[in-house]
Symmetry: none
Subunit: 417 residues, 2 copies
Amino acid sequence: MLGEVRSAACIAVGDELLAGDYPDSNSGAIARGLAELGIVVERFVVLGDRKDELESAIYELCARYQLVVCTGGIGPTLDDVTREAAAAAAGVALERNEAVLAELRASYARRACAMPESNERQAWFPRGAQVMPNAVGTAPGFRVWIDGGTLCVLPGPSHEMQDMLRRELLPWLRSTCGQGPGIVRHSFYLLGLPESAFSDRAGEWMARGATPLLGVTAHTGILKVTLLGKGESVEGARAQIAARAAELRARFAEEIYSEDDPRPGAAIVRQLSERGATLAVAESCTGGLVSELLTEVPGASGVFVAGWVSYSNASKVRALGVDPALLERHGAVSREVALALAQGAAERSGADFAVSITGVAGPSGGTPEKPVGLVWFGLWREGRLEAFERRFPPVDRASIRRYAAHTALNLVRLASR
Amino acid sequence: MLGEVRSAACIAVGDELLAGDYPDSNSGAIARGLAELGIVVERFVVLGDRKDELESAIYELCARYQLVVCTGGIGPTLDDVTREAAAAAAGVALERNEAVLAELRASYARRACAMPESNERQAWFPRGAQVMPNAVGTAPGFRVWIDGGTLCVLPGPSHEMQDMLRRELLPWLRSTCGQGPGIVRHSFYLLGLPESAFSDRAGEWMARGATPLLGVTAHTGILKVTLLGKGESVEGARAQIAARAAELRARFAEEIYSEDDPRPGAAIVRQLSERGATLAVAESCTGGLVSELLTEVPGASGVFVAGWVSYSNASKVRALGVDPALLERHGAVSREVALALAQGAAERSGADFAVSITGVAGPSGGTPEKPVGLVWFGLWREGRLEAFERRFPPVDRASIRRYAAHTALNLVRLASR
């Protein structure tokens, strides 16, 4: 019946999702799981705990997609309406499943508790539904046929959903509809290139009809470029991607820092480790962010020697030996102070590389000559000193700090290749 | 035309959302904003970068809801299809807006860059649309009427969306359709209390039927406690909340650090500013995170004097004067080294308060005596030294670092009150 499932939709149920208390992450996890079988999720829908709306959404989506996976609303309380909505959409009654009820009672007995009355609700299913056991919680899931589509209902708590997805739903889909056409994604992470410049250099690779499809997203200096290949088989999709991936690697050799891990800190820790080189950091406007991005990586201790957050002028002088005359003459945000900070960090730590950051992160403190967004970088590479100036869009303090931190990491990356 | 808007839907556009790369958090933020006006969001929909599907979803949702807010897909690249889909759903052509184009070119000129060709796309809008300027990015949003509903399109990057929501969309909605029935939320942020201890002390305030409703979420040591009041008017809802808020303030006086800003760093910067006191930080396992949480706050420069990221033993000795014999005898993660780090930071910076953090963040490096999750803190308060030991759940490196950073900030908060 499900032999040709190739498209699907997800529904997430919960007032707390609609209220914006936290985002729906279940649907994305389900989409990643289904992609392994060649099933493309084309739509996520989030709805509140209201039976009528959920019923009509289930009905409409089952008419449009062959597979609809719904999470949430199958707990023991009265605001859990997914069972009722599914039965109504299927046009059948709810029936108590005695085997499930006995197992529920037994699981409470094993923990030496009496089963709360309300949990009996979890043993009711739409007539004709197939039950999916819950190995890590009390609410079983189920599958039910609704017109042309199949509705699969999983629990809302993320670890229960994940367990049932891996243990029940994906194996059942694989056995029922087999391994579908291949869908393969491959991502590249780039530093040092604006999105529009990437787009100009990528040219027609980015056309909507291109094969493979290429998507790009930008965030404070980091570009994520994703190739999406579709083919008769996973191998076919891989082959489709391989050629374009090779072209991308050649055209953006300078900018690509990773093909798996989005963290620029991880790329630099790996690169310096491979060289056996060490790094020190002197930060002013980034206030510890560069050190943080490096040390969040396990194994950073072999590479990252020391960091200074010399936020005040006094600490630039006392901790890193910056000449007070430089601060007086050129100001803290200047080529000269950037160089002195990098030199101070290198000499005090003995590191092979040192990078410094001093800029105007805003929101206040900008002047016509030194506007918000202006950042100077100093780079010590094995005895040589260089300075770099950047002017970031004066969007907000957090973004400017992130732009600056990513730029500092990129300077180290390019210098230590 | 919008006089009676009381229900709405959100659309988020992006292949990366459907692929499960990250969840849609824009729709939740919009729902929280609209709730302030008494507008209830009843559905979120996530769609990929395909014009036809987006067009039909926009059309259907505008027929069903009076207001549809769509985020994403208005960047400069060819995979940004929201402009085209909106125009098609409205049955109008796209038109170039010369004023917007001139402003785009001017903003590039101010940064002394040439505007990439592809950015011109951002100056095209459905005919008849009202443009919403983007104060923090290049892509303007717009509003367009489609059959019975109003479609409002905002940018996808979260900080741009938030800015346009607050600066453009909510004020326009308030002026157009007025203020609806009252839904008021008020949040408290607490440090130093586990969720279960909060629950025990809050007692029946947390019952599901309580008025106002009280919800609590916990994240790496920070509790967010939210009161939700509903009434005929905003004033009624506010009054409902006010009494419980006063009780909460009294019962959790020690633990509440903020009622508006979730950032513990902001609370400490404010508190130290008010006292005219200064702070220095010496970090080992948190690797710059504490300094980062403090310096992300504008105005931190008046309070935060200096930070050291003394990740290696050598840098603990060289930069902060820790006696090598202490490291030898007690190890880097010890009461003695925590005290020496705090003292070193205080003496070298001249700050009134200094806090140090040294622990085992994992995933490797744990031993039976010093397991992953063990963290020692040193605290210098105006000449006196104290040490504190904590054992955090060994969940993952990032969480342990965040727990430790929040604990360090809380120690400073309690010491400097």
